[in-house]
Symmetry: C2
Subunit: 382 residues, 2 copies
Amino acid sequence: MNHTAMDPTAMDHTGRLRRLQASLSGHKLDSLLIAHLPNVHYLCGFTGSAAALMVADRGSILFTDGRYSTQAKEEVHGANVNNVNIVIARKSPLVAAAEWLAAHGRSSTPASLRPVSVGIEPESITAGMRDRLASALKGKARLRSVPPLVERARMVKDAAEILRIRRAVELGASLFRIARRKIRPGVSEVEVAAAMEYEARCAGAEGMSFPTILASGARSAIVHGRASGARIPRRGFVVCDFGVILAGYCSDRTRTVHVGRPSGEARQLYEAVLEAQQAAISAVRPGVTAAEVDGASRRVLRQRKLARYFTHSTGHGLGLEIHEAPRLAAGQAQKLEPGMVITIEPGAYVPGKWGVRIEDVVVVTSSGCEVLTPTDKELVII
Amino acid sequence: MNHTAMDPTAMDHTGRLRRLQASLSGHKLDSLLIAHLPNVHYLCGFTGSAAALMVADRGSILFTDGRYSTQAKEEVHGANVNNVNIVIARKSPLVAAAEWLAAHGRSSTPASLRPVSVGIEPESITAGMRDRLASALKGKARLRSVPPLVERARMVKDAAEILRIRRAVELGASLFRIARRKIRPGVSEVEVAAAMEYEARCAGAEGMSFPTILASGARSAIVHGRASGARIPRRGFVVCDFGVILAGYCSDRTRTVHVGRPSGEARQLYEAVLEAQQAAISAVRPGVTAAEVDGASRRVLRQRKLARYFTHSTGHGLGLEIHEAPRLAAGQAQKLEPGMVITIEPGAYVPGKWGVRIEDVVVVTSSGCEVLTPTDKELVII
């Protein structure tokens, strides 16, 4: 009996690699050098911090270094990923891969005169590394920048991934209870964040998916206001934006609470952002562009004369990384497809005064979307 | 009265920028585009996640995006960094900087015929970004890869930086007390890590400087064995490798404890690694190469027939980043200088069986080094 077949969260590394291999010839590639670590993780399960994965028709090779020899065997071979060999390199895994290609790479087209063509991910290697790779290949192969093939595959999540994200979102959501309990005037922002992060760790999270944002009072106007030593004032908004990594997958959630009695103006701001968020969620369905979803929330805030205070995009994909494609922003023509998992998180920030953001994670379904985050979005007053 | 002159941990951004500006003409550069975020932080104090800093003789411009307009003003102008303008871009800050250069950049050499020369950090921008920058410049300036000027400056820490690192190391060291209290047979590795991380946060750390390593039993042979759900066995080593970020600066410390009575062989392994670590510390002084320090620890382990189990380098610089230059490894010709702050962390790992690592942070002084980490290194038995 196959162990992995029993586990609904087991990753289909073999299928992912096979589909990528099958696409190589269509891009006129003999092999593809994967340098982006989340892509390596996605394709073969390896989670170490130094890796290059060479994917070719004939099979794949994971290059890593001596620190990871045990871990690589456990993660790649332990997960029954077929046909991936492991090479422990004494230098940069990418350079080792290029030298291997210079020594062993041959075009898979017999008797072909065309040079061996090696694809690289131009957004995932440094300019300096591209120069070193070219020189390591010694003219025996040509580097070709390719479109983000793996990122595109990763945009649409399979059932096992959605299950993992669902669990991460559930754990992440539970941390808001801690925040509600801890947020009190005079308590420092980091104390609240620390309590949330402790809970996340004890519940099995590998870590937070980004530095916890806890921005109180006038700091709530700082969009990425990491939890600081500032003490929560007696009255004002507190933006809480936080997420966990659980079994490799990220969650992301924002709630804004109000300490003390909110003014009418504060309530109006909150209601406007909530309405914008609901408008964007309602716009999510297959075939709609990412820009249209962004436009839906922006339209509401424009009607409320708040558009200029909404200084970021409406959302982003998430999965193995906290920010993935698609990006929900003006001009983004990417159409939504079932299985995409995205955040919906409009906000409004008046510099020096206050800010509000509300964020859920949704999965695109065949007819619309399912909101994975628990939907308690009334203004919480503490 | 100047506020910053009162604070011994205040960063000398103005001096750093001035020295970098003064070095441009020697590299035949009209301006330098800084893309690496820790370098931006080092030069002007900005800590946001999207930034490009254009440094030129005539002054500098920080490009960031709308999320950071408030934060950029606070961090850059609030810290009295002279002569840095802030531009809020609607696109990638780097591309915005290149477009600004295409529109405004002129060679500082009047009537010069040579093209405007813009330095880039080839290890800090992606290959794709270099292509986009070249096209944004529209032939009005030429990109030139430059040596890691800022990384070199960052290698030698000034007094304010050493004070910040000292405080980070002290906070980091205090977490080992938590580990000693929490490590018990049957407790999961992440529970121990969570307690340490909670303490760090409450004490003011911005976060951990890397995912906490807590590797027990046979997992201690995994060099980068992040804290997992595994339960600490009744007998065996537990490698604890952890660090904090405090006021921007990293700490890094490893201690290996033994749960239950250690065998004679376990004690021998521990003593060998400790001796190797002390040999490396004794080798640290100005003028010695990084490779020589690495050789000192490797020699001890070779004498004990353990060299093949020491699968990583002896240490690395640390500061704003957890891994900085210099790298203490074979072949590294970089000479040590007073003010460099480095880790000394040999280890030995027998796959499937056990592992030991011992690590301190030291600062190179005029005559040798000072160990910043408290020096309790007897084998702790729990």
